[in-house]
């Protein structure tokens, strides 16, 4: 158990408000960014943040340090995000999922440095659109892997899956993203 986790457990036992203040100061921006990437909306990111820290405050005393604090908090975030996503799943979104996304060509990707490509707004928009179009479970895996940089073990712990299943699902998600994002010719 790292010192941060031990500190949080200690504070959660004695003073819930201080534990919450620590949690909010340390992770609120990170969670807000995660929510923004997930929903691509400031308002929804704000709502999710509120819900996540309210839930974390209520559950703080039950945290036993089985994982890192952020991993635990991300699990709460993911549940809230899924709930919100289920609520806002509309026919519009279902129609958009079937539409072709702009994507990028194979040659563009092979001939340029990926980090330089990401600086271009239209390329970034195409990537975001492709990620957003993925089925929900795949989208979660891609964001956890490429935005949060969680290890396979951490992902398995948050998603309550075996490590092998995470690897296999991630491989499927990666193939699906490749199919949506990379066009042979445009």
């Amino acid at each position: 158990m790292d010192s941060e986790t031990a500190y949080f457990i200690r504070e959660a036992k004695h003073d819930r408000n201080r534990a919450l203040a620590f949690l909010f100061e340390t992770y609120s921006r990170k969670i807000f960014k995660a929510a923004y990437v997930y929903f691509r909306s400031q308002e929804q990111a704000e709502d999710i943040c509120q819900d996540v820290f309210a839930a974390a405050s209520a559950r703080a005393s039950g945290f036993r340090g089985g994982s890192k604090v952020y991993t635990w908090l991300y699990g709460i975030f993911l549940n809230k995000a899924r709930d919100m996503m289920r609520r806002q799943y509309t026919e519009d979104r279902a129609v958009r999922e079937k539409q072709e996304t702009a994507g990028i060509t194979r040659s563009t990707l092979l001939e340029h440095d990926p980090e330089e490509l990401a600086l271009k707004e239209d390329i970034r928009a195409a990537v975001n659109e492709a990620v957003y179009t993925l089925p929900e479970d795949m989208k979660i895996l891609i964001i956890m892997r490429y935005f949060e940089d969680f290890s396979g073990k951490e992902m398995a712990s948050i998603l309550d899956m075996s490590h092998a299943r995470v690897r296999s699902k991630l491989s499927e998600a990666r193939a699906a993203l490749r199919g949506i994002l990379i066009k042979e010719h445009i």
Binding site: K33, A58, L177
Partner: protein, 194 residues
């Protein structure tokens, strides 16, 4: 170079590869479809990672606020718990009150029945007292007026007889009945009567 070596080199960034390694890799990738696909995926991973991070950085994190309220789900759960506790309390309270009311009712019923019995007993006693008083009055009246009374008496023909002759006669108070006097005279014992 085989695919395994190529895959190892693809996992490290191009700047960290030597010129020779880079050349060998490019030659291999040109001829190997699987490695071309792996390189494409590696580049896609890097692009997705950078794009998502830049998108995350676009978020106006200064807007992040937290109003410390209870988690709506926990709040809801707590409300349900309170409602359940209140329901149980009211059920128990009404049960207890119902039981106590039932007890009180049966007690009242029992006391009413005892009161009724007491009333009946009292009127029976009153009647009995009245009857006794009436009888006393009748007896008093009988005594005062000197009315004759019927009594049993015993005639002994001989003093040692064991079979007395039992007869009835009407006595007036303070006098020996006439038929007894006659009887006694007839036996020559007129002064010996009992």
């Amino acid at each position: 170079m085989d695919c395994r070596e190529a895959e190892k080199l693809l996992r490290i960034s191009p700047e960290d590869r030597s010129t020779e390694e880079q050349k060998k890799l490019e030659d291999h990738i040109r001829s190997c479809e699987a490695c071309r696909e792996e390189e494409l995926l590696q580049r896609m991973d890097a692009l997705v990672s950078s794009s998502l991070r830049m998108t995350g950085d676009e978020a106006e994190t200064n807007r992040v606020r937290f109003i410390p309220v209870d988690d709506p789900v926990s709040e809801q759960r707590r409300t349900v718990h309170w409602a359940a506790a209140a329901s149980i309390f009211f059920v128990l309270l009404s049960g207890t009150l119902g039981f106590m009311l039932g007890q009180a009712r049966s007690e009242v019923k029992h006391l009413s029945s005892r009161l009724e019995q007491a009333r009946k007993g009292r009127s029976a006693l009153e009647r009995s007292v009245q009857e006794k008083e009436e009888r006393i009055q009748a007896l008093e009246k009988q005594k005062g007026s000197g009315a004759p009374r019927t009594v049993n008496y015993y005639i002994f023909d001989r003093m040692d007889t064991e079979q007395p002759d039992i007869r009835q006669a009407v006595f007036s108070p303070g006098s020996v009945p006439e038929d007894i006097q006659k009887l006694l005279k007839g036996n020559g014992n007129e002064n010996n009567y009992y």
